[in-house]
């Protein structure tokens, strides 16, 4: 073995042991005094008096034990197998688990620092009054949430995956209490888990319904110990959403055109998709609402035009300032009825300084606001005249 190689090896071993040391330091569950911790552990006490119950979400479940709860995510990412996390109230001894849970990831809760992989988490966390827990986001530029924005500007939040790929070393160095994924897999996650940083999957985007997605606020409640706030907030959201949907269902459905075209191919949400459900619940109709499958379908413009080109309303997510921008992007848009009558609505009213759109970010947490916008567009007679739009704006003629 050459001398240089030996030096490199020695360095590598030193680094590995020091990293292992780091993770060993983080592992003990009886952390120093922090709020919400058990100081005087009694195995007979129920340390989760506020329990979340789920009504709409189908992709996760929570089960409670005295000093820990188990969060199970059925599909942590598209094609992923179910995974369980053991959330242990801090101050309690690590539970001795058997069977499937024996090797499960343990997270000490409430967490003091959280790395968030998707901007859709942020509105939920802010809603729970826990914005101060967020210390890292995947891409700070994409954040529009005002509370998190302030923290980013103050330097309290770092970016750990600005280009889409997790920078493992940044995360290892900061050592957050938990990293919450955007519901996609990343080769870096197993490495982080090995190093003692809990990685919890948030796959709310795999929920079929808007209310199901919003209910993931209860996952953040489980992580931050805010079950009662989450329960109240979610119930209010669900009640408003259902009330709006009932109102809209009493009207005659309005034809809408959804999606836009690129390179001659029109991306159309199916009826089973999140966007499709929202439009159906808002009292809208379009020919592909009966299609199954949660993914968007790529259609040719001829079919879309022949079957839906006459719709009086068009809902888009393109940031067009005026209808003319649509036509200059593709002159064939000019043949659509909604373009001719100027009834084009864009979900780009609330765009943050870095280009992040609250429609994606807050719309997931607050489907009631999103549905309110859609009902007001589709059935203006149902909305009060002084209603302010949250996410949508009418594209200027």
């Amino acid at each position: 073995m050459s001398r240089a190689l030996r030096v490199v090896l020695a360095l590598a071993i030193a680094l590995a042991t020091s990293l292992a040391g780091c993770s060993a330091e983080r592992a003990p569950l009886s952390a120093d005094a922090r709020p919400g911790c058990i100081t005087d552990f009694d195995p007979a006490t129920d340390y989760f008096p506020d329990k979340s119950t789920l009504s709409e979400a189908g992709n996760f479940r929570l089960t409670y034990h005295r000093s820990y709860q188990v969060l199970t995510v059925n599909r942590p990412y598209l094609g992923g197998k179910p995974v369980s996390y053991v959330l242990v109230r801090c101050g309690a001894p690590a539970p001795e688990l058997t069977g499937e849970l024996a090797g499960a990831q343990q997270v000490t809760v409430p967490v003091r620092s959280l790395y968030s992989g998707s901007t859709t988490h942020l509105a939920m966390i802010s809603e729970l009054g826990q914005a101060d827990v967020v210390t890292g986001v995947a891409s700070p530029a994409a954040v529009a949430d005002p509370q998190i924005r302030r923290r980013i500007d103050a330097g309290a939040v770092v970016g750990y995956a600005p280009g889409g790929q997790v920078n493992i070393e940044t995360v290892l160095h900061a050592g957050p209490d938990v990293l919450v994924t955007p519901g996609m897999d990343d080769p870096g996650y197993p490495k982080l888990r090995e190093a003692g940083i809990p990685v919890v999957a948030d796959a709310e985007w795999l929920e079929a319904t808007p209310l199901g997605r919003a209910e993931w606020i209860k996952v953040f409640a489980a992580l931050t110990g805010t079950e009662s706030q989450a329960g109240r907030a979610y119930q209010a959201i669900r009640d408003r959403y259902r009330e709006l949907a009932v109102q809209a269902a009493s009207t005659k459905p309005v034809d809408v055109l959804v999606g836009t075209m690129y390179s001659g191919s029109w991306s159309m949400p199916t009826g089973a998709s999140y966007a499709g459900r929202l439009i159906a619940d808002a009292g809208g109709a379009y020919p592909w609402l009966t299609d199954g499958g949660a993914e968007n379908r790529q259609l040719n413009f001829e079919s879309v035009y022949a079957r839906a080109g006459h719709a009086p309303l068009w809902l888009v997510t393109d940031d067009w300032k005026a209808v003319g921008d649509a036509v200059s992007q593709d002159s064939r848009y000019g043949d659509l009825t909604a373009v001719r009558s100027g009834q084009v609505w864009s979900a780009t009213k609330a765009i943050g300084p870095g280009g992040g759109n609250l429609y994606w970010e807050r719309g997931t947490a607050r489907p009631d606001l999103l549905l309110g916008d859609l009902v007001a567009i589709l059935h203006p007679e149902l909305a009060s005249s002084d209603r302010e739009f949250e996410f949508y704006r009418q594209v200027a003629r």
Binding site: P162, G163, G164, Q165, Y262, S263, G264, S265, R297, Q298, L299, N300, F301, E302, S303, Y305, A306, G309, H310, T317, D318, D319, W320, D325, V327, S328, Q329, D330, S331, R332, D335, T348, I351, G355
Partner: protein, 345 residues
């Protein structure tokens, strides 16, 4: 002109007309034939929707396929002769990658640097993307050609082209990492290739540019014939080799770049059409092969365009899937048969 060449060209011209008519008559939506004819003759259709579908969707699609096919066929032929390599084509030599890089820079990073969060390739930047694609194509081709001075080996040169293509693809992925996901999605769709992405606005740019490129390519017929026998031979024939290279590279970049900007990087047509055309006319003489590749390129693109817009169906099949899946077996058969029959290289 030999009788065989005349016959082949007449046959190809007929095929172009037939396929163009089919392209207008066939589409995902069933439009009555009488209405199609009425719209084309300038009178009103029985349903205003047919008017829009035939005049604003199918006609641009057919014209785009026509222009793109001719452009790619001619560019492929020029490059094969210039590099004296039968595997050369805009795609393999990295010209398409260069064009993609140009488009990626405009499309993925363009708006991010500017003040506005403009949606993807909006009207104004469409022209920008076209220019960027042509410049990217020209830069790549010039680089390959410059490097060709240091090597006599065609295989090395081809390898260099492939490497440069890989390098520009790497730059594209770098740009994608830092771009808005919605734009990345658009860029990926563009990369699948389509003749259906163009409207009349785009054709006002696409058609004249392809016409200029084809006219310039026509000027290279004589020098290319001389270059078939080597550069020193061409020089003794009184050909200004340097000028011939510049014009060839220029027109090939324009043709490939413009096509790539509007239709995405389209594989296969530029590589294969020249081979089939040479077999069909039975000669390598560019006076016969250039018109043949123009027509055959259009035929191939029109046919692929019809298949990609599956009649009676909602869905779209990307052009690149059609060119490769439908075209490859056909061409392999043609090549093998021709080799067995005539012993042509």
């Amino acid at each position: 002109m030999k009788a065989r060449t005349a016959l082949v060209l007449a046959g190809l011209a007929l095929a172009v007309v037939v396929l163009a008519v089919l392209g207008l008559a066939l589409g995902p939506v069933r439009v009555p034939l009488a209405d199609t004819v009425r719209v084309l003759l300038g009178s009103d259709a029985s349903d205003p929707r047919w008017q829009v579908i035939v005049a604003n969707m199918r006609l641009p699609r057919v014209l785009t396929a026509l222009a793109a096919g001719a452009a790619l066929g001619v560019a492929g032929l020029q490059l094969q002769t210039l590099f004296r390599n039968t595997l050369a084509d805009p795609y393999i030599l990295g010209v398409s990658s260069g064009a993609s890089l140009g488009v990626a820079l405009v499309m993925l990073l363009g708006g991010a640097a500017g003040a506005g969060f403009t949606a993807g390739m909006a009207g104004a930047s469409r022209a920008g993307a076209t220019i960027a694609a042509a410049l990217g194509a020209a830069a790549m081709l010039t680089l390959v050609l410059t490097l060709s001075r240091w090597t006599r080996s065609a295989a090395t040169l081809l390898l260099i082209g492939v490497m440069l293509g890989a390098a520009s693809t790497a730059l594209v992925s770098l740009a994608m990492v830092y771009a808005d996901p919605q734009r990345v999605q658009q860029f990926l769709l563009w990369g699948l290739g389509s003749f259906a992405g163009t409207g009349w606005d785009d054709l006002r740019l696409l058609l004249p540019l392809v016409a200029v490129g084809l006219a310039a390519a026509a000027l290279t017929i004589r020098p290319l014939n001389a270059l078939l026998l080597g550069e020193s031979y061409a020089a003794t024939m009184g050909i200004n080799v340097r000028r011939a290279r510049v014009v060839t590279v220029g027109s090939a970049s324009l043709l490939a770049g413009v096509t790539t900007a509007f239709c995405g990087p389209i594989a296969f047509i530029g590589l294969v059409v020249p081979h089939v055309a040479r077999i069909a006319v039975g000669t390598s003489d560019h006076r016969a092969v250039v018109p043949a590749v123009t027509l055959l390129g259009a035929v191939a693109a029109l046919a692929c365009g019809i298949v990609s817009q599956v009649p009676g169906s909602n869905v779209v099949i990307p052009i690149n899937a059609v060119t490769a899946l439908v075209g490859a077996p056909v061409v392999i058969t043609v090549l093998l048969r021709a080799r067995r029959g005539s012993g042509m290289p």
